[in-house]
Symmetry: C2
Subunit: 137 residues, 2 copies
């Protein structure tokens, strides 16, 4: 891959992440995703539980389609909506990477706390040479 | 919890999810989070790698602070930024719940595919009674 291709690739990956995160930043759209996670459904079925016009729900559905999270296919006169299960892989990957960083830091903090506790227990008052255990470094 | 309290609680949880997802829907803000995931840093250190004004980066930082993902504390004349590692727990929980749904569906699909394959291998041409293994249901 040339440098220009690599940059285009990174840019389109970033644009996809932007679109998916923006699509998720709304409670109605998240509720639509939750509904479609249970089973695919017709547009009217998806709209039914919401206290808003079909037109308003349709706008949210179009945002979800543009982000790639929701797909639409025609079945006779019906429009069937379903989740594209791969669309959140990149988002999930990003969150997962951040989590690994944090867990690494939290683990390091935990180790530090354990060491501090041990040092406290073996503090000046109680410290005797035989209490010190030196393992291989 | 009364019904009104429960509704307020759900509404504020939804508002927090909205804010965090919206904060993540921008490549500069995601890059700032990645930077701070490695270590806390001063505002000027965070701004340094970006080809934009300190003012532009500061605006992004304020969005991240408003969402609760980034925290700021003063240390003498410096403003130190760090990640609030708990802020993404709710987002992570939501994505995780969706993933469980999907994995359940993908597992079901896989089982179906395996059954179809087995049926294909043991199709009309080859099917003999002794090929059928009946385990406990």
């Amino acid at each position: 891959m040339t440098e220009i291709e690599a940059r285009k690739d990174a840019a389109s990956r970033a644009a996809r992440l932007d679109a998916v995160f923006a699509a998720l930043a709304d409670p109605t759209r998240r509720a639509i995703i939750e509904r479609l996670s249970r089973s695919e459904a017709r547009v009217t079925e998806v709209a039914e539980p919401f206290h808003m016009s079909l037109n308003a729900v349709s706008k949210h559905i179009r945002v979800l389609e543009a982000s790639g999270v929701v797909e639409r296919r025609r079945k006779g006169r019906d429009h069937i909506l379903s989740i594209n299960t791969h669309s959140l892989d990149e988002v999930d990957g990003w969150i997962e990477r951040m989590r690994r960083y944090w867990e690494g830091r939290l683990d390091a903090m935990e180790r530090l706390l354990r060491e501090l506790k041990t040092d406290y227990k073996l503090g000046p008052k109680d410290r005797r040479p035989k209490d010190r255990k030196h393992g291989p470094r």
